[in-house]
């Protein structure tokens, strides 16, 4: 039976009609399935009311229930207020907006519901209020969910709980935060089942389109006995992708990552749009663009803002509000504004530089033209010439919906350890019961009883008895439950719940008061008093560091250095790489309709002249001899990360035959090996060099896996509670308990080899860093390709960005710019003498 006849459904559709809206098919489907007790995943384009598909489902049920109650007219109305819906969001910026939208609905439907937000920014007073009386709807981050479980008497919160929704599930799923969500859901479901076995707790996810939708649902709802459904909207969001093209290819540098050369072309776009969101890939880039736009057009002062993760909460809040009210003409942002925030005035989005993946690009595009049937408009601003091809590839991928998959994280022992201590800090836990719950989650479905045993030992006795952990105390068994008794340990644990590990950050504050944001400690440590830097678009003069806070004053300077935040550099996705290779085919063949490829044609012709343009069934290798040495360039187009490992692998295999050492550089398109001596290479041995045979063995031989695992262990040590992160603005009180992840890595290696956290570090290194499966696939593809070996006279347009990238590590942006200019000039000059020589020859002939 449909729910169309129910009172709540009628009430909601009537209300929608008043504001001249009609529910979409996928929304009514979701309402129906929800009412029937299904769990599931909703997938719809941005702007079509994904939120309402689930929020209204819960509302309809509530309206029906209250209607039922008034019918039976029990005068003694049982008090049934309390938490009904938990709404998990990955980003804090999302929460405020969602709450606003939900409150509006409740008000207009005269539903007496409280909607509250709970995350790292929630005040203590608000938290206390929530503890006394839980709101009906709680919008929460995975971290705050765990904090909730770390409180005493948590079970009481969930008496009325009907539904848990994981918003932006595609975003959460691929990270340890997703594992946190899985674990928290498993516990809350366990509590509800225990106290209210009759209740059907429904778990729903909302996801953008990704390659592995079915798996996403299985990860969120791994339970066999429940009914599950994927609701996919049959509506297509119109997206217009335009490239900001140079008038001539020479306007664009061969390499670089700023793209300032095209900045003047951005101004008209900003002027003709209501509000523009400008996305950059790094925080440093965002700061530089902000400065640059102001230099280009002074009238923009006060009309543009900058938004990224290192900017103070208050300031970000102000920017978000200003975006809503349409005061701002443009906001320059990093991924901090990636996700589903609905800023109505935004009608244009600009992406600066490669977005590295199709899914991310489409997500960003969706920030504009948010309402249904509006068209999302996104401009792509290439930062160097070859990115024009990426623009063409992105367009094709968007058209054919070739969107990447997200791999869920499994067997994250660090996160599990943190979770178990969280439970022990809260009400304590029964290990048999929790084992079964944990084992049911997707992340730990392969967990062995022996591994569980080790983890229980780790938190209760410190580790196995072989490596003796005397005097250890953390989690103890009391009255049948595992608990943390020490208040000190409990407090420290609560402070460190979460899986996002960042470099030590310092708060930046004006001498007279007022926070501006955060910068990395390593950056500030290099500053001398009187030096200036930029943050949040302001030029600041550094005065001193006091108690984990950098004190600054406004600088009179117009420009200053920009801190580089250590964000992970995102690698090109395999998906985009393969379309990119195809586009290389089309450019010279001219059988395409992409204006970007027309623009880049002269560069490709040049590449064809000095070397070769690889087709998708070809594998290009360039050998170049310069005064720096012998260069070997290879172009697999598999992304920076795969190239890093492949380069090390090839270097290893080359040096095994003849002792030779290399320095290595790479970018998303290819990699370089540089040696002082000629590299022994010919068409014959290349295939053997790139052979997938003995891959595992050779990887171990070529890569310092210990170093890589050590790097991975940094996060693991923090998450599992071995090492404490400093908090910006907070003085570390536990100085006598400070140590480093590297120290623990060494100590465990020497004294506790069987530590599961060590094993996790090696496994993460192998699967996430080395990406062995993708590397194998790439090598197999190369085996089937035609090898093109070219000996070039000077740097080619293709190899140039790699060459420049290898310099990037130890030089600041400005110097790099100069260096690039010089090298471009050198490359050009090198071409000229060749001509001159030939002319001379001709002269002789004459």
């Amino acid at each position: 039976m449909g729910i169309e006849t129910s009172k709540g459904y009628k009430q909601v559709t009537k209300w929608l009609k008043l504001s001249r809206k009609k529910p979409f098919r996928f929304q009514t489907d979701a309402w129906q399935y929800y009412a029937e007790g299904y769990c599931g995943l909703v997938n719809a384009p941005t702007g079509f009311g994904k939120t309402f598909s689930l929020f209204l489902a819960v509302v309809i049920e509530e309206l029906n229930r209250t209607a039922e109650q008034t019918k039976t007219a029990s005068k003694k109305k049982k008090k049934d207020t309390g938490l009904k819906l938990i709404w998990i969001t990955p980003l804090r910026a999302l929460a405020k907006d969602l709450a606003r939208a939900m409150r509006e609905v409740c008000m207009e439907l005269e539903l007496d519901w409280q909607v509250s937000v709970r995350n790292g920014d929630t005040t203590a007073a608000e938290k206390l209020k929530q503890k006394k009386q839980m709101p009906e709807v709680l919008i929460i981050t995975p971290e705050s969910m765990h904090l909730l479980l770390a409180q005493k008497d948590t079970a009481a919160h969930f008496h009325q709980l009907q539904c848990i929704v994981a918003d932006e599930w595609h975003e959460l799923m691929g990270s340890k935060r997703g594992v946190m969500a899985e674990l928290a859901i498993s516990r809350i479901r366990g509590i509800v089942q225990e106290k209210h076995p009759e209740r059907l707790l429904r778990i729903w996810g909302i996801s953008a389109t990704i390659g592995n939708m079915e798996q996403a649902l299985e990860v969120l709802v791994p339970y066999q006995e429940v009914l599950k459904v994927i609701i996919k909207a049959d509506i297509e969001k119109k997206i217009t992708i335009k490239s900001i093209l140079p008038d001539h290819i020479d306007m664009l540098p061969w390499a670089g990552h700023l793209g300032h050369k095209l900045a003047h072309k951005l101004l008209p776009i900003i002027h003709k749009s209501k509000t523009t969101l400008i996305f950059t890939n790094t925080r440093g880039q965002a700061e530089l663009w902000y400065q640059n736009l102001l230099v280009l057009d002074e009238n923009l002062a006060g009309q543009i803002a900058i938004h990224h993760g290192s900017i103070d909460y208050e300031l970000r809040n102000w920017i978000e509000d200003a975006l809503h009210s349409g005061i701002l003409k443009a906001v320059i942002s990093t991924s901090s504004l990636d996700l589903g925030v609905d800023f109505k005035p935004v009608d244009t989005v600009v992406q600066i530089g490669s977005p590295k993946g199709v899914a991310r690009f489409l997500q960003r595009a969706g920030r504009s033209g948010h309402s249904p049937h509006e068209t999302s408009v996104i401009y792509f601003l290439p930062t160097h010439a070859l990115e024009l091809v990426e623009a063409a590839a992105i367009k094709e991928a968007a058209k054919t919906q070739q969107i990447e998959s997200r791999d869920p994280i499994v067997m994250a022992f660090d996160t599990l350890i943190q979770y178990l201590v969280t439970l022990a800090v809260g009400d304590g836990f029964d290990d048999h019961k929790i084992y079964l719950e944990v084992k049911e989650t997707h992340a730990f479905s392969e967990l062995l009883p022996s591994e569980w045993g080790w983890i229980m030992q780790f938190i209760s006795t410190g580790g196995d008895s072989l490596s003796a952990y005397t005097e250890f105390s953390k989690v103890l068994k009391k009255d049948g439950l595992w608990k943390v008794e020490s208040r000190q340990i409990a407090m420290r644990h609560r402070l460190h719940i979460g899986t996002i590990v960042s470099d030590p950050m310092l708060k930046v504050k004006y001498l007279g008061g007022g926070y501006i944001g955060m910068v990395e400690e390593s950056f500030i440590s290099k500053m001398k008093p009187g030096n200036s830097f930029t943050l949040a678009g302001r030029v600041l003069e550094f005065i001193m560091v006091k108690e984990m806070t950098a004190l600054v004053r406004r600088s009179k300077l117009k420009r200053a250095i920009t801190p580089s935040w250590m964000g992970g550099r995102i690698s090109l996705s395999a998906n985009l790489g393969s379309i990119l290779r195809k586009k290389y085919n089309e450019t010279l063949d001219k059988n395409h309709e992409d204006e970007e490829l027309d623009i880049i044609l002269p560069l490709f012709e040049r590449q064809a002249k000095v070397s070769h343009v690889p087709k998708s069934d070809e594998f290009l290798i360039e050998l170049i001899h310069t005064k720096d040495g012998y260069h070997f360039f290879a172009y697999p187009f598999e992304g920076r990360q795969v190239h890093e490992v492949m380069a090390a692998l090839i270097a290893y295999r080359l040096s095994r035959k003849t002792p030779i050492s290399f320095s290595i550089a790479m970018n998303d398109y290819g990699f370089e090996l540089l040696s002082e001596y000629p590299i022994p290479l010919d068409e014959e041995n290349i295939k053997a060099l790139f052979s997938p045979e003995n891959l595992g063995e050779d990887i171990v031989g070529s890569i310092n896996s210990t170093e890589m695992a050590k790097r991975k262990f940094r996060d693991i040590a923090c998450i599992s509670g071995l090492v404490f992160q400093g908090f910006p603005g907070k003085y570390t009180a536990n100085k006598h308990l400070q140590s480093s992840a590297a120290l623990f890595f060494n100590v465990f290696t020497d004294y506790d080899k069987h530590n599961l956290l060590l094993r996790q570090a090696y496994e993460e290194a192998f699967y996430q860093q080395i990406e062995e499966p993708r590397l194998l696939a790439a090598l197999q593809r190369i085996q089937l390709s035609k090898i093109i070996l070219i000996k070039a006279e000077s740097y080619t347009p293709l190899c140039f960005p790699i060459k420049v990238d290898s310099l990037r590590e130890n030089m600041s942006t400005e110097e790099l710019g100069q260096r690039i200019e010089r090298m471009t000039a050198e490359a050009n000059q090198k071409m000229r003498p060749v001509h001159m020589k030939s002319r001379k020859k001709n002269d002789h002939h004459l």
Binding site: Y469, T470, E471, S473, S661, F744, V747, D750, D752
Partner: protein
């Protein structure tokens, strides 16, 4: 490795000690006994082997040089008395003839009777033993006496090709002061800014290397 400092011969050992043969004195710093047990008490999993390993290394050094005095320039004990201090107490009995001198460091907070029962001479501030002054923390202003201190756990970074970077604990010898590496294996490093005429001796797994 043997070096000359203020015309005195000092032997730097890769087990993080200095032997001053002329005085038959073995000098170490920042032993941090009880640190790993202190961590365990606070719920952080550090294997006991770490602390035992430190004492075994120290025993081997004593066997090697057969000194009359063991001088510790501060931070011998990490915190209050715990099981590892008890282990040390037993260990101490094996070397009852050896004189233990401790210059009080910021971490050393056992009671005077406890030091006495462990047969350790406690020196409150500094020990002048010409031409050297031994002290835990390097004073802000120094006089002509060459100061040898500990406290900061000095480390040095070696840079190699292909962006390789390695950190090692080190001995630091400056114009008028020297700093000892921390003896305990369970200690971090802080890098020091080199000044002109400074000498660094990195402690690598294979031995002490001048850098």
């Amino acid at each position: 490795m043997t070096i000359i400092c203020k015309e005195e011969e000092l032997i730097l050992n890769k087990e993080r000690s200095i032997y001053w043969a002329a005085q038959k004195m073995l000098i170490i710093s920042d032993l941090h006994i009880g640190k790993s047990a202190h961590f365990r008490k606070h719920g952080i999993q550090v294997p006991s082997g770490v602390g035992e390993g430190d004492l075994q290394r120290l025993a081997r050094l004593i066997d090697l040089y057969d000194p009359q005095t063991l001088l510790i320039t501060g931070d011998m004990f990490h915190h209050k008395s715990n099981s590892e201090v008890a282990v040390f107490s037993e260990w101490r009995k094996e070397f009852s003839q050896l004189r233990f001198q401790l210059i009080k460091g910021n971490h050393d907070q056992l009671r005077p009777v406890e030091y006495a029962s462990l047969n350790i001479e406690l020196i409150q501030k500094e020990l002048i033993c010409a031409p050297f002054r031994f002290i835990h923390e390097k004073p802000e202003s120094t006089d002509t006496t060459y100061t040898i201190s500990g406290h900061i756990h000095p480390g040095v970074t070696l840079y190699g090709k292909a962006r390789q970077r390695l950190n090692f604990p080190c001995f630091y010898f400056g114009e008028n002061n020297a700093i000892l590496p921390a003896f305990s294996a369970f200690t971090g490093l802080s890098r020091i800014q080199p000044q002109k005429n400074d000498r660094f001796y990195a402690i690598t797994p294979s031995g002490v290397v001048a850098v």
